[in-house]
Each structure stands twice: as structure tokens, then as C-alpha cells.
Symmetry: C2
Subunit: 245 residues, 2 copies
Amino acid sequence: MKIKITVSYDGTDYCGWQIQPNGVSVQQKLQEAVLALTGENVCVTGSGRTDAGVHALGQVASFPTASSVPPERFAPALNTLLPRDVRVLSSEAAPEDFNARFCAKKKTYLYRMYSSATVLPLLDRYAAQVERPLDVAVMDAAARMFEGTHDFAAFMATGSAVETTVRTVYSARCTGGEEGTVCFRITGNGFLYNMVRIMAGTLVGVAEGKISSADVARALSGGPRTLAGKTMPPRGLTLLSVDYD
Amino acid sequence: MKIKITVSYDGTDYCGWQIQPNGVSVQQKLQEAVLALTGENVCVTGSGRTDAGVHALGQVASFPTASSVPPERFAPALNTLLPRDVRVLSSEAAPEDFNARFCAKKKTYLYRMYSSATVLPLLDRYAAQVERPLDVAVMDAAARMFEGTHDFAAFMATGSAVETTVRTVYSARCTGGEEGTVCFRITGNGFLYNMVRIMAGTLVGVAEGKISSADVARALSGGPRTLAGKTMPPRGLTLLSVDYD
């Protein structure tokens, strides 16, 4: 049987989703919990990796089991074995061929920023500080340019190896949030390495007048990495949800 | 000269505002930063203590100095010496007789809760989990009963020594917040030990049907501690602001 779980975590204290030789990963915590619960040493496959310090509201993962634990009981049982900053929100039976990574159709991310000359301790854990003022309308107009099918090579960390840098973005919007925050939400069929963090940095560059909309347009036509903005820090990024058929 | 500072901190990793023999306090971090900046070993007086794990958006503190650092430069200079989860938002010169504790006229606190069967890692740091559903309208009606001048003895941790348990609450309201949270905001001329956390527990008791509005009314007439609700955990409490004349 395959189990599909939805997982939320505060990524601050983790080296990311994926198991690493050094550092504690979310995947490791989940696999240890499954082992303690069922005695099975399985691979818990996530919809994708999240980097060190990146958070998740609704990461999806899957694993095989021969255990007699009812599928919906995995969530509360695993939660008794997990640290408080990692929680399984729900668990269910999935078809035998379900794989959280390969079956994912859409992902939605949130990148949250706040404009302040000073680090604001109560925002800082889940948002990135930007020292200059941010114009939400200008950023939203630039974010909407990301929508559609483009060659996003400029929005990928240099040195990443992928078959194609073409992706489809279904929605990309900026809105003003609580306490002067700016929220950049994006939904797409897949994301390149550091893509959302580079997009957020590009929007900040646009707000600061350092990047023009013509630059963004060129970047979206397979232009070089240098046309896009800097890579924003992981703390502002949250994987909100993963959609399947 | 007296310096008045406004301080924000994430209280999670501190033993509270006040210096303790064991544990790291916010006051200690500030005093160490002032010492490093001016060479002066001063007492930084807060508007009041916050308990271990309680946060502040706008705690106010004061300290004397003979330093030549311009008053408004203390904030950025201290921030280079402070941990990231403690930040001085502003600094200014205050009259020689200014004392952040004794001159405080009003304080405003926020107690944030979220209703969920599961701990939600991305809310958990600044809000308390309540497993049952919360009816905001019912809680707001009960919160409004706190408004006015009452004997709040029932809303004080047992064993506290104070001259009088009479306080005036100017405003007490519950509102629904982001992602299913409930926010209880209260402004008063002073607060007894654990008063806001016991009030929040009372509102939860009312929402759960365990405490009636008649119980709240009796509690507000100097009734015993047993009439009020349980003391909610510190993580949900934030000192929002302190007002002076």
C-alpha cells in the first residue's frame, strides 16, 4: 500500500527536505518516525526538495507500507513521534503507483518580504527583510509578466543541470500583507532550482528601479542569469501546496 | 541623560525580560550591548517583565548614559551588537526623571490562538493551539466584559503579592485573524501576573462552554481564581505597545 501524507514544517532548524550526510533533514525525521511506528525502513518521497531554511505549509510526500495501521491513523501516530516543528496534517491511502514527486502537477509557493530599516524579530522567521520601501503595485505588475510558458533559464541558480528550463507559470501575484509585508504567490507546473527566490529578488530589483520591465521580458526569453535579480534568502519561502490529478 | 528605547523580540529562546541567575534574558542582552557600546554598566529598565517565551513588538525600556552617542544613534548601534531576535526599533532622549516602568500609563497585549487538532508549525511559534473550534463572536462578547475597572484577583497567578488587584481595562476585543487564528487584544493601565494569559484561557473556557458569562461576571467582582480559566502558554502572548504621557 502507498500512503500519501501532507506535511507542514518550520524549516529554520533543518538542512532542508532531503537527507544529507551532515545536518538534520525533514525527510530523515519522517523516515525515523515511520520506522518507529511500523518497523519499516522506507524512503519517504517528497514532491520535491526544499532548501535549508525553507518552510512548508503543505508539502506532500509518499511512502510504501505493509503495516496494518489504517491510512488515516498515520498522521496522528507519526505526530507523536515527530518534533513539534514538523507535523503531518493528514494521511490517506494512495494508488500503488502514486509517487509524490512524479505525479505532482502544480505547486504553489509564497515568498514573503517586509520593508524595514531594522530586522523585525516577529516577522523575520518567515519573511525576508528588504531595507528599501516596496511598491506592491509595481511588483505585482512585474510578477504578472512571469505568467505563461517561458524559458526561465535566467531564474535558475547557475550550474544546475536540467533537461529543459521551460516551465509554465499559471499565476504570479504580489499583494500587501499584515504589518507592511509583501506576499509573492506563484503557481506553476514545476520550478527550477532557486527559481522562486530569484523571482522574488527580481521583483525587489524592479521595486528599487534597478531592473526594468524590458530586462524582465528579456530574462523570460531565455536571457542570461545576470538579467534577473539576486537570490533572496530561504527564510521568506514557503511551499504552500502541491496539486495532483 | 536618559535614553528611551523601543524593543522588539522573539521571546522563544529567552528566560524572559528580566535577568535571571540561570538562563539568557532580553535585559541581559541589552545591558551587554550598552556596555559594549558605551563602556557603561547600566540597568536597562523595562516597562515591565515579560515571562519566558513571551514576545514583544514594542516593549519600552530606559537607561541612563553619560555617553556622547547621539540618542537616535543608539538604535542602529545597539542592533549591531544584539542577536537577530532582539532589535531596538527606535531610541530617543527622554527627561532625566523618565523611567520606563513607573511612567507607563497603558499597555496593549495580543494573545493569539489557533484552533486545530494538530500543532501547526508555521503558526505555533507565536500562537497557542486550541484543539476545539473557537467561536470568535462568543469570545468577543466575553472579552468585552473585561472592559472597565474591576477587581481582577481571579485573573492573577495564585501566590502573587500586590497591593491591589484592581485594574482598569480600556479595551478588550477578540477578532478572527489570518489562517483561522483568533486574536485577543487588550489595553489596560496595568496587568497582574499572568493576567492576559488567564483571560485568554477564560475566553477559551467560554468558547468550550465550560465557563458561563455569569462565572466571568463573578470572577470580575473579586471572585476566586477557580472561576477563571486556565493559564494559556506564553508562546501566544505578545506585548504590542506601551503608552506614556
